[in-house]
């Protein structure tokens, strides 16, 4: 039974890792924390389920790709209009502004798609695969496979191109980066678009597990942030490790301690980490020391 609990924790952890990765990328280029990340997830789940799947009757793959594309464009636009302007502001202002933007996005989802929760059944069915002694739902296997593929892809890009350095240079000093010939605006918009695509993936993968509601992303977004703190603020490998760890710890904690307080486990873990190991498991050198 515990094995089962751990596997479904791993699947949820992969979702947290996606969101945490988005936080890390945005932090590394814009030096802000996007508290609206969960609402990006919510919004993309609605776009995926209501617009592309239900209204347009598109097949799963096409709907998923189009959702990612729409979110990438929205991300780039929002970055240009709002988020890129926040880097120059105090952390306090940036935090409140992104929280406000999250409300805007959540309410837009409600205005456009209505308050009713949407049900979405997985195109992979609700079958179960026997792996060793464990019975693992197909949807969880899909989640893990997709997330592992995304992680590998972004690792290869960071490893074999200079994108990572360009991003960090942009975060550290935008003016100097511009003078050195870095197309700063495109870097910012691109990073934000990428983090929006990550949120879109998380939304698409979560849609069959949860009802699609305007609240579905809020807690996932916050826990993704907790995962990044646990892993190490701004650290890419840390975000992945923190996400997976948080997913498993949460499930095991809910199983062994209390399922009523499942959502509190992540925050309890956060407090412990902030007091005992505030730099996280795999600390980043340019982390936020504020």
């Amino acid at each position: 039974m515990l094995g089962q609990v751990i596997v479904s924790g791993l699947a949820m952890g992969c979702i947290y890792a996606l969101i945490a990765l988005g936080y890390a990328y945005v932090w590394n280029t814009m030096a802000i924390v996007n508290f609206a990340a969960g609402e990006f997830l919510t919004f993309s789940a609605f776009v995926f389920v209501a617009t592309f799947t239900t209204s347009l009757q598109l097949p799963f793959w096409l709907a998923a790709v189009l959702t990612a594309a729409v979110m990438a464009v929205l991300g780039a636009v929002f970055s240009r209009l709002v988020f890129a302007r926040l880097q120059r502001q105090k952390a306090l202002v940036a935090i409140i502004a992104t929280v406000g933007f999250g409300i805007f996005l959540k309410e837009m989802a409600r205005i456009i798609y209505g308050p009713e929760p949407l049900l979405y059944t997985s195109p992979f069915g609700d079958g179960v695969v026997a792996l060793g002694g464990l019975r693992v739902p197909v949807q969880q296997i899909v989640i893990m496979a997709v997330v592992v593929a995304v992680m590998a892809l972004q690792y290869l890009v960071l490893r074999y191109t200079t994108i990572g350095k360009v991003m960090r240079a942009t975060a550290l000093d935008r003016e100097t980066a511009l003078l050195m010939g870095i197309p700063v605006n495109r870097v910012l918009a691109g990073t934000f678009a990428f983090s929006s695509v990550l949120a879109a993936l998380a939304g698409i993968l979560l849609a069959p597990l949860f009802y699609v509601t305007t609240e579905m992303g809020t807690l996932v977004g916050l826990k993704g942030f907790v995962a990044m703190i646990i892993g190490g603020f701004g650290s890419v490998p840390g975000a992945i490790l923190g996400g997976v760890l948080l997913g498993v710890a949460e499930n095991v904690g809910a199983f062994t301690i209390s399922s009523t307080y499942k959502d509190a486990i992540a925050f309890g873990l956060l407090l412990v980490f902030l007091l005992v190991r505030p730099q996280g498991l795999l600390p980043e050198r340019n982390a936020d020391r504020a």
Partner: protein, 607 residues
């Protein structure tokens, strides 16, 4: 321009508008909405103190309101306390929670504090939802006895309208009073620049704790009044969303503006009711409104609110002389210093060390910024600390002021001061300026200097008045008294530098640490600065000064310590030190051995 009659007239208009709903006998639903607005205004005020004024972000104010609400209800229903005792007890209990939050905030800052307060709000909601034996679960607590004052009207909303408004005004009045006094100045200093505040004697832990206590107490008052008005408390009333709504009130009112908070709370509470037809859109509009206000009009409604408060907010402003014809008044100050010098005979190096630095080391990551540095500073001495860039000079200053911790020992007189809190070191008579000027930009020049002043705690006379007088005197001695009522952020770099000097000397410290005081001053002023330092020394201050300009160092220092890559490489009289081969090498690089073969090689000129 503001005419003198305009502000009182505006006040009369505001007070009349507030009395109007009762005078017009508005229906009880509208009165209810207004009553909620007064209650929210109190809760938002607490949030403004913690977030807007002290800079500690709290995204869980609704949980504190809820805590106060449940506590009031429980005290009344389980312990049968009368409502006023229950309310006060709930405020005290919630204030205790504020003390804990204050302790948390000294270790957890910025983004971490935001997520932690948000998490605590979520945990509060879960506990209220699940611990039915205490909180009544999802249905909450019902049938809590409400207040009734039959003399004031027939419905409860009519009865409580003026009492709630009066309590709200009282809370605002108390907050405004403290905002302009020492407590409020310290809070704003911590918000604008925490490191500078600590180095200038502000105990940031204490200030943050006070901020969180005020935040919690006002939240609990609001929560208790809510319960007394509506008669129930349920988890759904105190969600993260409510916290964010209160944050909207604070942002709309303008971060840091007390009167703006009231206006923000009224708008955010009343507008949705006034625009009920647009219910679907107003939350989205608020969300994007916050972003727009923060980016485009950060002062929000505070523009109106602060104008209304006027002199209540700033205190009376005494006239401070006209600006001198020259851009800075340093010339006059230097002349005064020179004449004072003729009277005093400075006595440098009386043979007694004021500052004794022994074996001080500090590394950042793999870089050793200081390596076993040792030197003495004699009483009444001006000691120069020089060295190439990255040699550890600023780290040494930071170590002496407590801004960074070090290994080794630093003694002031007979006491160890290494690794003490910066405010403790400041209280022992050590003051400093920073390499890149660090004024508190939103505060006036006068307030900047008053924060640093430590008035003795004797009962006679007002500490506030004495701080004011001392600050004006310090500003005058630097020739910048005419800037007293300007905002710190509006000054030129040279002016800020002089204000920072005034801030550093306002307590007449025993030891003054100056990190490149001449940076940003134009040529002529630099030599005048040297005279000012002589004058300060004549007043009994010993000075440790980091400086790059060799001419200035030769001119003003009695002795010089030279650092290179964290090591002390020379220590002695300026002229001797400048001739030391190690120093020449550190500054100019190694001597190139003469190469007769190269026809174009020239002997490097001796420095």
């Amino acid at each position: 321009m503001t005419q003198t009659w305009m502000r009182p007239a505006a006040w009369i208009a505001v007070l009349a508008a507030l009395a109007l709903p009762i005078a017009l006998d508005l229906n009880s639903y509208y009165l209810h909405v207004l009553n909620l607005a007064w209650i929210f205004a109190i809760a938002a005020l607490g949030l403004q103190v913690a977030t807007g004024i002290t800079g500690q972000i709290v995204l869980g104010q609704a949980a504190l309101v809820g805590f106060g609400a449940y506590a009031t209800a429980l005290f009344m229903m389980r312990l049968s306390l009368p409502w006023y005792l229950a309310l006060v007890a709930a405020m005290l209990l919630t204030a205790a929670v504020g003390v804990l939050l204050g302790a948390v905030s000294t270790r957890i800052k910025g983004h971490y504090l935001a997520i932690v307060t948000l998490a605590l709000n979520e945990i509060f909601r879960m506990v209220a939802l699940n611990e039915e034996w205490l909180t009544g679960g999802p249905m909450g607590m019902r049938d809590i006895p409400t207040l009734s004052i039959p003399a004031l009207g027939d419905t409860i909303d009519r009865q409580l309208y003026f009492p709630l408004l009066a309590l709200c005004f009282a809370a605002y009045a108390v907050t405004v009073f403290f905002h302009r006094a020492r407590t409020g100045r310290n809070m704003r200093a911590v918000r604008d620049d925490e490191i500078a505040a600590e180095a200038m004697g502000v105990d940031s832990r204490r200030v943050k704790t006070i901020a969180f206590v005020v935040c919690s107490a006002w939240a609990a008052l609001a929560g208790g009044l809510y319960v007394l008005l509506v008669g129930f408390a349920a988890p759904a009333n105190f969600t993260v969303f409510e916290s964010i709504k209160m944050m909207l009130m604070v942002v709309l009112g303008g971060l840091g503006s007390i009167a703006g908070t009231f206006l923000g709370a009224v708008v955010i509470t009343v507008l949705p009711e006034a625009l009920r037809g647009l219910q679907t859109y107003y939350l989205a509009a608020f969300g994007i409104g916050v972003v727009a206000i923060l980016l485009l009009a950060p002062r929000g409604l505070g523009v109106v609110g602060d104008w209304l408060l006027g002199a209540f907010l700033t205190g009376k402003r005494e006239p401070v002389g006209e600006a001198p014809a020259a851009p800075l008044n340093l010339g006059a100050a230097a002349a005064a210093a020179a004449s004072a010098l003729r009277a005093h005979v400075p006595a440098p190096g009386a043979g007694e060390a004021l500052l004794r630095v022994r074996g001080v080391s500090r590394s950042f990551g793999g870089v050793k910024a200081l390596n076993e540095v040792a030197f003495d500073l004699q009483r009444g001495e001006i000691l120069g600390l020089i060295g190439p860039n990255g040699s550890g000079k600023s780290t040494m200053i930071n170590a002496c002021s407590g801004t960074v911790g070090v290994e080794g020992s630093i003694q002031l007189g007979s006491d160890r001061i290494d690794n003490l809190a910066p405010w403790t070191i400041h209280a022992r008579g050590v003051s400093r300026i920073f390499q890149n000027v660090r004024l508190w930009e939103s505060m006036t020049v006068l307030e900047n200097v008053m924060v640093a002043h430590r008035a003795p705690r004797d009962p006679a006379g007002s500490r506030e008045a004495r701080s004011r007088a001392a600050a004006l005197e310090a500003l005058a001695s630097m020739g910048v008294a005419h800037l007293a009522h300007r905002r710190g952020g509006d000054l030129s770099f040279g002016q800020s530098r002089l204000v920072e000097m005034a801030r550093a000397i306002v307590n007449k410290p025993r030891l003054l640490l100056l990190d490149e005081p001449a940076a940003g001053l134009r040529g002529g002023l630099i030599l005048e600065l040297s005279q000012i330092l002589q004058h300060l020394r004549a007043q009994g201050m010993s000075i440790l000064v980091v400086e790059h300009r060799i001419k200035l160092v030769m001119n003003m220092c009695d002795r010089v310590v030279v650092l290179n890559l964290g090591d002390k490489i020379a220590d002695g009289r300026p002229a001797e030190v400048m001739d030391s081969p190690a120093v020449i090498e550190a500054y100019l690089g190694e001597r190139i051995p003469p190469e007769p073969a190269a026809p174009l090689a020239r002997e490097p000129a001796p420095a």
